[in-house]
Amino acid sequence: MTDLLAILNQSATSLSAQQALAATASHNIQNASTPGYSRQTAVLQTTLPADQVGGAWIGRGAQLQTVVQSRDRFLEAQIPAQLGLSAQSAATSAQLASVSALDPVASNGLGSALDGFYAAIRAMSQNPSDPGLRLAAVSSASTLARSFQSTRSSLEATRSGADAAVAADLQQANSLAAQVADLNGQIRTARGSGAPPNDLLDARQKAVDELAKLTGVSPVPTSDGDVSLFLPGGAALVSGVNASTLATRPDPANAGHLAVTLTGPNGQVQAFSGIGGAVGGALAARDGALKDAVDGLDTLAWDLGATVNAIHQAGFGLDGTTGDALFTVGAATAGAAGAIAVNAVLAADPRRLAAAGAATSPTSAAPGDVTALQALLATETTALSGGLSAQDGLARITSDFGVAARAASSLADHDAAMHDNLLTLRESASGVSIDEELIALQKAQRGYQAISRVIQTSSAMLDTLMSLKT
């Protein structure tokens, strides 16, 4: 039976419900700028059962039912994948954009060194016995070799930079994977109380998003509320409360650059290649366009060195010497651009630079004979063993690298736009509007004031009742 004391009790419960509304709005406002926070809504319900008074049912006020999050599962399922793709293409693009060794406007680039080499040979062909021109020709050959070395070194430095970025990102990824596994455990425990652990869910989602950016993991929710994470290659990074560990080791098959390994919870180490996100992007740049450019330079240096050497070895120096190679290029194509150098014998004695096609005596050749130089100059425009001339080969390397850099940049822009769009949609669904929360706060305040008035009125009625008895 409803009496005045019951009204006071019900009002106290309803006041608590209004406080919950205000507290939730306050929590939302305080987290309006928290990344990954999903706004919460306190849900009130009518207190049941109603009191029966005579033939009628009189309600018992309101109480807090639960606090729910505003989340769009459809959007959230798409976001980690898009975050991974966006981070991957951005990392690839950033790595390629940082390379300046192949810039066409570089005044001291490989192209100008190649031009300078042939210009010096051509100048020497005008007066092959001139010591100054011979020295200039040897010097230009040295400049060409150093330019090959520095261009390759610059590209390799960028590849090593990618290694460093990968190692740092993997450390962060391991920390986040451990967090997700730990949060899975905390969420399991919290769910035992019956209510959804909203802030823990937010924290896990945020960690998953960050991990997706770094590694491209895909989250797979399980029936017991966990989120397992799988790398693009299919390997599990987090399974329930267990996290695997990502690490690196030097790969001898890739010039000592780092390969990624995955150590499972059981301690088993496996090498794998399926990783996305920023790590995958850095690896894609390192082993894609950057490696192609390095390989292209190696092939160019090897082919040019072999072609020039074959001609030079058949020619004769001013002192009648023959058989000297102009360049030393190492033992194999791989690394040739880094190893190429002018033959030390020629660098020390430019008279041995072979300009002539024949010797006039064991110790001399005709000083004006340019037969060998003519053949050398022909290599400027004729195809090397790769099918292109040296300059055309360099142009191909530059263009191919440019195409890859541009494609990566375009893809990064596209992925960033997709990523921004999804995040905007998620923010629209889950973000906090200060205006909305202020209104909710005002509403809770008004409710609180009205219920207080109910208590005041009930109290006055009780006072009236008490005065009748005295």
Partner: protein, 295 residues
Amino acid sequence: MRVTDAMIYGNAVRDGGAAKSRLEAAIGPASTGVRVVHPGDDPAAAGLATQVASVFSRAGSIGSGAQAAADELGVADTAFNDVTNALARVTELATQFGSAGYTAAQRASAADEVATLKKQILSALNTTAEGRYVMGGTLDGQPPFDAAGNYLGDANVRQVEVAPGVWQAASVRADVAVKGVGGGIDILAMLDTLQTDLRANNQAGVAAALTPLSAATDQVATARASIGLSMNAFDTAVTSSRAVATDAQTRASHLLEADAIEANTRLAQAQLALQATLTATSQGFKLTLLNYLSS
């Protein structure tokens, strides 16, 4: 769409950043005049620019070499001009002393002059350019003729590139032009014979020298014609190299450089867009319930 405060601020950061990025991208071409800095800016242009730069460099070095060769041939032509002049004087002497009415002493005096003229011819033939003897073929490190008139050079002709892979003779064979190798007249030997006839007061022998002297003059003229042809080829090479270099420079400019009007228009657009973004953003920040509740 439901709009949250984080969206408003996030959009402000993103849109403002994008507008600033576009402004930065527009400043580069407008301030430097360069459109393609990295290969990724325009891959095709970057590759072509490498090839065009090569064409420019090649044209420059070919032109430079051709100019030097032309200058060197000019030295050779001057030498042959001296030879021609000397032969003209010898012809005058042969004409004069091949006639009657001269004493043995007078003919001996003429023989002395012929000997002097031969020395002048040898001196002219041993002329140098840039420290090299231009008449010795590829053996250009030593005088091609000794004092006796023996040829010490070789039978080769120096070659200089006038276009990629195209080589032009940059010297004449003095053994042919002077020593008559291949069926011509040995001019120096003929001068010796003339001297001998003059000293022997052999009027008929001196008169007989006029025929080979005429042929020798023609022989030298042929060599000079050959030099003229080569010089013409080198002059053409210099001209065409300049044209190729200019063309390459123009192509490089088209490939790599920014159009000034377009670059400055883009810069103005980007500046305007950034101003509009900042204005709209600052206005958006003011529209919040907080401003009204607090007043």
